[in-house]
């Protein structure tokens, strides 16, 4: 039995002692991918080549991809059986994050459209 006997600590590669060289390479690949994704993000935000309304979505996709790169290459989160606990905790965290952000944005957008007094009637609410 050479399979995982314990869950692996997040951030631990499990290979660092046996093959430090390949570990350095692993981090370097992660850095290269992150740099590429960051560069594309900055390019997308500044170019006029792309369809304007799609830029925000593209940026979100790039950011999520880069977070994935960081999780895999820097934090060593994998799909392996020794990582199940870490992944489940992460999944729960992501669920809460999505609920908080999407819920807040959704509710407040609703309030803004439904409860906004007509413009000239009340200028206290100075959104937009």
């Amino acid at each position: 039995m050479t399979e995982a006997r314990y869950d692996r600590a997040p951030g631990d590669s499990g290979r660092a002692l046996t093959a430090p060289r390949s570990e350095v390479l692993f981090y370097t690949v992660g850095l290269a991918l992150a740099v590429i994704l960051t560069a594309i993000s900055f390019w997308v935000a500044n170019t006029s080549l792309l369809w304007g309304p799609g830029v925000a979505l593209g940026l979100a996709v790039l950011a999520i991809a880069q977070m994935g790169v960081h999780l895999v290459f820097f934090l060593h989160i994998t799909t392996g059986p020794d990582n199940t606990n870490n992944v489940l905790a992460l999944a729960f965290g992501v669920l809460i994050v999505l609920l908080v952000i999407a819920g807040s944005v959704w509710i407040m957008a609703n309030l803004n459209t439904n409860m906004m007094p007509s413009g000239d009637l009340m200028n206290l609410h100075m959104q937009h």
Binding site: E3, Y6, G11, D12, Y27, L59, F74, M108, M126
Partner: protein, 210 residues
Amino acid sequence: MNVALAAHEIHSDVLTGAGEAGPAPKRVVVAYGFWIFLLSDIVMFSALFAAYAVLVNATAGGPTGAQLFRQGTVAIETGCLLASSYTCGLMLLAVDSRRHFATYFGAAITFALGAAFLALEFREFANMVAHGAGPQRSAFLSAFFALVGCHGLHVTAGLIWLAVMMAQVAVKGFAAAVQRRLLCFALFWHALDIIWVGLFTVVYLMGVAP
């Protein structure tokens, strides 16, 4: 009770089967607990992100993000933080193989890059406040300073932590407890970089996108 104490001394090779092997080594338990803390910290940041997303247009006639943010600074900040995340990973490898010099060297570069990030951010904040765009100007700016400032405070805490850890390495050497703390520090530092990815995308890039 010495059971728990003794259990993590047993080398994992002797044992078989996940879950049936008895308590996990302390390194796994500590790092997992810290992982849970980091996720809760990210949940806290998500509330600040949500507040920012809701208030981003509430400029109260004041300056907007597109007028305030300079992408050059943000790009350099991003580069600093990304590079420091990388050197932090290399430092952790040096810690695992107990190389003193490489550990100090990696920590020094990580610290310098983190400090450069903070200096740039502080200069940006000071500039904004000097131009009348402080946190009291509008709800948008309050949310901005809360979100970005909270990240900056985390980076500050990380720098202090890193300095303390290097003192511990110098005094205690690579004791098991010191190695666990360094693993937690690396997790913390990488998590801050992940938050920064969301931050520069949502605040700086989406804020100035055409």
